[in-house]
Amino acid sequence: MAAPLEVTGSDTEAQPEAVLAGVDGKAIQGRSLGQIAWMRLKRDKVALAGGVIVILLILLAIFGPLLVQSPLDYHQNLIDPTYNRPKTGIWHTGISADHLLGVEPGTGRDLLSRIVHGARISLLVSFLATLLSVVIGTILGITAGYFGGWVDMLISRAMDAFLAFPLLLFAIALVAVISDGSFGLSGNGLRIGVLVVVIGFFNWPYIGRIIRGQTLSLREREFVDAARSMGARNSYILFKEILPNLVAPILVYATLLIPTNILFEAALSFLGVGVIPPTPSWGGMLTLAVPIYSSDPMYMIVPGVAIFITVLAFNLLGDGLRDALDPRAK
């Protein structure tokens, strides 16, 4: 028998938090989804710890270099010339009150200072590269998803092509080919620019695919039809109706892309494509540590742990953000 009045329980989006928000009565100001996500995030202690570490790292990268000594000063009086390693400190690390993480073998440069300055390069490159990926990925993803048809086909195939590109080899080749002074940049500025462009430009398909998929489902929602029936233009629908709904995935995947890019920057620096020595970078420090790891393992451990903590903190924060912003995607 056909039910005359169908009760379709389509309240998939009804959230318990929404009910809670209504209970306290006094707050007539509604809680936005952002505020609700923040409430959830506050309960996730692991993600919060990741977030605190991320903030500390960012502060360290910005203000740290003002506090530590120069990363370029040699302290060869601390080096044992026979073994080419620090004379002092436990396990010959050179750790002392002046050099909290020890000194570099051979030159005696302060490791803490090099880590702090390296953090600056690492975070700068990964943030800028992520920003580039997010901007390109969002614009192309939303365009492909919203307009569909041959536009979608073109952009989707471009994504496939970019993902198939041998990025590492390309980056190495590019640095060899681009001469100093190109694009009005030289030295480290040019190297950082190349890193940002290479990493950012080849990572956009990851975010682009996610945005495209989300847009595909969002454009079928009735609020898009509602906007169109009120006379909204495509630009209004894209930026005022659809984009606000994409902030959550953009934020989450940007946070998860940053650690990937940190690793990538470290790998490129390790291969000698990063900033030019003596400017410190984490990957570059690892390169220097490889030939002498048997006599001074600490020299390899310090930048390795720095990379590990940074990547882990960003990943924990990203996972927490995803859970907070999109509780159904677990």
């Binding site: 039910a3 989006e13 989804l33 039809d225 906007a227 029936s229 006379g231």
Partner: protein, 394 residues
């Protein structure tokens, strides 16, 4: 296509039946209907032989191999101030028709005239100012409100999109509309997820009303709501109609809701209108066998009455709109079907005053309909040309 919007007297037995499944609706039905003045106003919307064929493509070159004939030549008109109900099973093309009227979908053929202007192929840019007068209520209140926007932003969007200056600012205007639809104006800064389904639908209605439209296409306005809330929203729509002099095209699969709210009702089957008549006429004297079968499926609330009714059970499923049956589309499931039904398409003709049906063997009519239909069907040009093309063109 002619109809008098008259005959508004509602008998008591009629009201009782109308309110079968909408609790609380029966009480107000008679009042609302009686309060409505007899309307013989001008035509607001005219739909002529409208159709939508969705192409089915295959292969690398995306060659069109077939077409889903979602809507295949429907014609009706709506007068100012009246409510036209559009009923039919899922997939019969009623929502597609509504979306074409709103120009959210481009028609494949046919003509839509709104206030004397042909809007069938009008560009979206030229259509923009017209959209003030032409609004839509959506089916799913959970999907029709952007979760990232406050109620104020949602209901205020039409003002901003149409660049309408309001006397005391947009906020004041929005709060007035919220009050009009029975929401607390204090809810201005709240987000949709903080509201129940019924409240959300009221927000959607508020947004629709913001521009004071003339015609509202309501696509299943209550089907996503709890039964207890359906009556509230239906009654709200009726009150608003009286207050703001609105014209509705209500699309629904729920016969009780349609009976309650409509002045005239059109029944669709597989992309075509099979019967269109004044509400009481249609519900009391259905002519098309399909309408009869639909009406017989409406549940009877009184258990003791249930034994008396005749339930017509249709055999089989609705045929695919990819390859609809030739001639009368209902002949595959019709218990009255004869050879003529498989060969000659019955045109939608007026069999009694204001009552049109497309059937060779209509019921509830004194007119010798077979002759009428046969005459009309044989007469050249009786069936619209485009329709014939659509049948043979594939």
């Amino acid at each position: 296509m002619t109809s008098t919007g008259g005959n508004k007297t509602v008998s008591t037995s009629d009201t009782a039946a109308a309110g079968t499944a909408v609790p609380g609706a029966a009480e107000t039905s008679a009042d609302a209907a009686a309060a409505r003045p007899a309307r013989d106003g001008e035509m607001l919307l005219e739909v002529d032989n409208l159709g939508k064929h969705f192409p089915v493509t295959a292969g690398l070159l995306r060659r069109q191999v077939a077409a889903v004939k979602a809507v295949d030549g429907v014609s009706f008109s709506v007068r100012k101030g009246e409510t036209l109900g559009l009923v039919g099973e899922s997939g019969c093309g009623k929502s597609t028709t509504g979306r074409m009227i709103m120009r959210l979908l481009d028609p494949s053929f046919g003509k839509i005239t709104f206030e004397g202007e042909d809007i069938t192929t009008m560009s979206q840019g030229r259509l923009r100012p017209l959209r003030r007068d032409l609004q839509m209520i959506f089916q799913d209140p959970y999907s029709s409100l952007n979760p990232r926007k406050t109620v104020g932003a949602i209901v205020g969007a039409p003002f901003r999109l149409q660049n309408i200056e309001t006397e005391n600012g947009v906020k004041k205007a929005v709060q007035e509309i919220l009050e009009l639809v029975g929401l607390n104006p204090e809810h201005y800064n709240r987000y949709p997820h903080e509201f129940s389904g019924g409240q959300r639908q009221r927000i959607g209605i508020a947004r629709t009303l913001a521009l004071k439209p003339k015609l509202i296409v309501a696509d299943e306005p209550v089907s996503a709501l709890d039964v207890s809330v359906q009556a509230q929203v239906v009654n709200l729509l009726e009150d608003l109609q009286d207050e703001l002099d609105l014209t509705y095209v209500v699309i629904a699969h729920d016969l009780s809701v349609v009976r309650h709210i409509s002045d005239r009702v059109a029944v669709m089957y597989l992309g075509k209108i099979v019967e269109i008549a004044d509400r009481n006429d249609l519900y009391e004297r259905p002519m098309h066998p399909y309408t009869n079968a639909l009406l017989s499926a409406v549940p009877v609330p009184d258990p003791s009455e249930r034994g008396n009714r005749q339930r017509i059970r249709l055999q089989g499923d609705v045929p695919s709109p990819l390859d609809p049956p030739p001639a009368c589309r209902f002949h595959t499931r019709c218990w009255k079907a004869q050879d003529i039904c498989k060969q000659v398409e019955p045109p939608l003709i007026e069999l009694s005053h204001g009552h049109q049906a497309a059937c060779h063997f209509p019921e509830n009519t004194t007119v010798s309909a077979t002759d009428e239909v046969a005459k009309a069907a044989v007469a050249p040009g009786a069936a619209p040309a485009a329709e014939a093309d659509a049948e043979t063109g594939e």
